[in-house]
Symmetry: C2
Subunit: 437 residues, 2 copies
């Protein structure tokens, strides 16, 4: 809308220019990303500053990507909802982008206070060029040149995660967890040796330890498995971040910002990994289901329903179409809880047009999944999964599968039970190789 014209000279991906290595062997470039809890207070920001300066003194070039301080994004969203019934999406991004802006400034100050030199960069300064889907923008290009210049002058770069700029100069945000994507995209654009994701957990676990006491930390996991885990609701890493990492082969490490323990390496797969059938069991309780029933069974029905939903930038997850009877059919699908009202409104709006007898919706749906490279070579995993759940009287509402995962939708009240049963049956039952150590 602002119309400042194109954003700089955009290069994506770039390999590191030769000038970066002037004398002696090049210094390894690390991208470190710290989430909201890791920078949740002034004390924690000072701890992060110490860790970053330590890594520089060990001979690394450092690019540090940070999120908003824990709670800040929610505080800002609450202000937005107080001021307007339906906050404008463009302005909500302008508002939310201040969260990371505060953190980069404070962290750069804290690092300078320790005698090192740091310079902050906002999304439009890097620049992280995105499309214009406010609230869930996708990165199109990263122009790493300004960052490289500053790195080669010996500074630590502190980059605001989560935010970008569209072609017209509008501020955009990448959606919850978008800082991971910023970190990986920067690591790819800069040709970083590694991208370290610091968070409040020790790494990637075989399941959520709060639900499943026998869950344990994985030392290594493949991009594909991590991708399934991320997209299935394991809140450790954002899906798009893992996609980027896989596409540009960026070695990732998920680790805790509160300890010095090794975390979980997310890397390209190797032969040993296939020996483990199920690497992890995940769940996502923030699902909602919408059902359209009694629709005349004509070709193009799905397109007519999902076209408007896709245009509204709503991600549809599981879909089932019921068998046709008397020339009528039905269709159920799940969306994230936060998109439920919007999706339901859209579908209700088109109910008359498609001749539907009715539209129903329900929240309180959970998705539970098992993920593992080994599924590709081990038959009967699905059958065994359904059997385990059936034995506990858990009704399966929907099923989707991929090469390396099986997901089911169930009533959210059974989430914990389902996760434990599947972890016991698949993960705990496996041999010590499950640890992949």
């Amino acid at each position: 809308m602002i119309g400042r014209g194109a954003v700089g000279r955009a290069v994506w991906p770039v390999t590191r220019p030769e000038e970066a290595t002037t004398l002696g062997p090049p210094m390894p470039l690390l991208v470190q990303k710290f989430g909201g809890t890791s920078v949740g207070s002034v004390e924690r920001i000072r701890e992060v500053a110490k860790r970053v300066v330590g890594a520089q003194r060990h001979g690394n070039q450092l690019v540090v990507v940070v999120s908003a301080m824990a709670g800040e994004t929610d505080r800002l969203l609450a202000l937005a909802r107080e001021v307007a019934r339906t906050p404008d999406e463009r302005e909500r991004d302008v508002l939310l982008a201040t969260g990371e802006q505060v953190t980069v400034a404070l962290l750069a100050m804290a690092i300078r206070d320790l005698g090192a030199s740091a310079i902050s960069f906002l999304g439009h300064q890097i620049s992280v060029a995105t499309d214009s889907a406010f609230g869930k923008a996708r990165i199109r290009r990263v122009d790493a040149a300004p960052v490289l210049r500053v790195l080669n002058d010996g500074h630590i770069v502190i980059a605001a995660g989560f935010q970008g700029v569209d072609r017209d100069g509008n501020i955009t945000t990448l959606g919850r967890g978008g800082s991971d994507t910023t970190a990986v995209a920067l690591a790819a654009a800069l040709g970083a040796a590694r991208c370290e994701i610091y968070t409040d957990v020790e790494g990637v676990f075989t399941s959520d330890p709060r639900l499943c006491p026998r869950a344990r930390k994985l030392e290594r996991i493949s991009y594909d498995e991590m991708l399934e885990l991320a997209s299935l609701g394991a809140k450790v890493l954002q899906t798009r971040a893992v996609e980027f990492a896989k596409r540009y082969q960026v070695p990732l490490e998920v680790r805790s910002s509160f300890s010095t323990q090794e975390g979980t390496a997310v890397v390209a797969e190797d032969r040993n990994m296939e020996e483990v059938v199920v690497a992890g069991v995940t769940h996502d309780q923030d699902q909602a289901k919408i059902t359209v029933f009694g629709v005349p069974d004509r070709p193009g029905l799905a397109a007519r329903i999902f076209g408007p939903i896709a245009r509204a930038n709503i991600v549809v997850d599981m879909i089932i179409q019921t068998a046709s009877a008397d020339g009528k059919t039905g269709l159920s699908f799940t969306v994230h809880r936060s998109d439920y009202d919007k999706a339901l409104g859209l579908v209700r709006g088109m109910a008359g047009e498609i001749g539907s007898a009715g539209v129903t919706g329900e929240t309180g749906i959970a998705k539970v999944s098992i993920v593992g490279l080994g599924m590709r070579s081990h038959a009967g995993v699905a059958a065994r999964m359904f059997e385990e759940l059936s034995r506990e009287g858990i009704n399966i509402q929907m099923i989707t599968t991929s090469e390396i995962k099986i997901s089911i939708a169930i009533d959210a009240k059974y989430t914990e039970l389902a996760v434990r049963v599947l972890h016991d049956a698949f993960v705990d039952a496996e041999s010590p190789e499950a640890d992949r150590s």
Copy 2:
């Protein structure tokens, strides 16, 4: 430092292009500025939104400049001081700029909630191009073209005050009260019909009503008088804002955001104004004094002292040099309290080099001034001022004068007494024309 190259196509000042007036008479363009108290809460932001939408419905184009919500800048500064002993100035500006960013987004949302259309602009989006003096940057150019485009599409423009962008793409801030300057600079660049400064007082008063119960609101005041008042500590308008307004003949109005009463118009002077000798009495209690004594009296002394101070971007206000005796001289000057430590450090650092016998400093200094166009044509005003103060036993430490004002530095504890005595003697004693009605 970031080196993104020049900032857009910069035009300063611009007259409004012909395209702005398509059909019928052009709509008057108003710039309205709301300070921190006026947008200090969600409720107040919604009140401002109503006022702005009302003004648009009365047939005006609207550019609204806002400050950070009251208290926000102090909250951010406190965070900065917690995280670093001496917060880096570049990063402090990155941090502080979030204050206005939050307000523009919330106000734009609130306006949209009322059914009108508003788009927010940050300093770098407008763009407000400044020099690189972080914390007290000066505006060099305003590129009003993006704002005009959005106005002509029927939107209300919400612009972040106080912030700009330097040649290298770094965020800068204009210093306390800088939003006034943003508003006037935008009004000048856009050729606005008027720039309205909404604040928490009813207008410009003959003195501070808290100190001087007989102070009353002025209906009109000249740019020059306002300039002296602003620079002398009347906190209604920032000096640079008035300078801009005078240079580009922008009609200003200072008024309350909590009432619909007319405020004070700040306009070019006319003949009637000279009939009033003293328009107002002001005070500033945030002064500090530094004295260098026992210095060998050689040419270039002042330059050697004030050169480094100017380079540190510290504004020196009153200066007196004592008469030379035995080849030794001394020099006293005042600075703002916030620059005192820095200035004292600089002067102490050069004491040896200039051969000074010592440097002393004291805070707790107040400046009291009388201002009026009429001083130009009325003799003996200074003598009468000194006489009034002497009668109350107030010791005058320094004196400076301009064509239309006389300022004295005194011990801060006498501020209130001095203001009342001078208001009684000069303002109250004048005929009803003083009201300039």
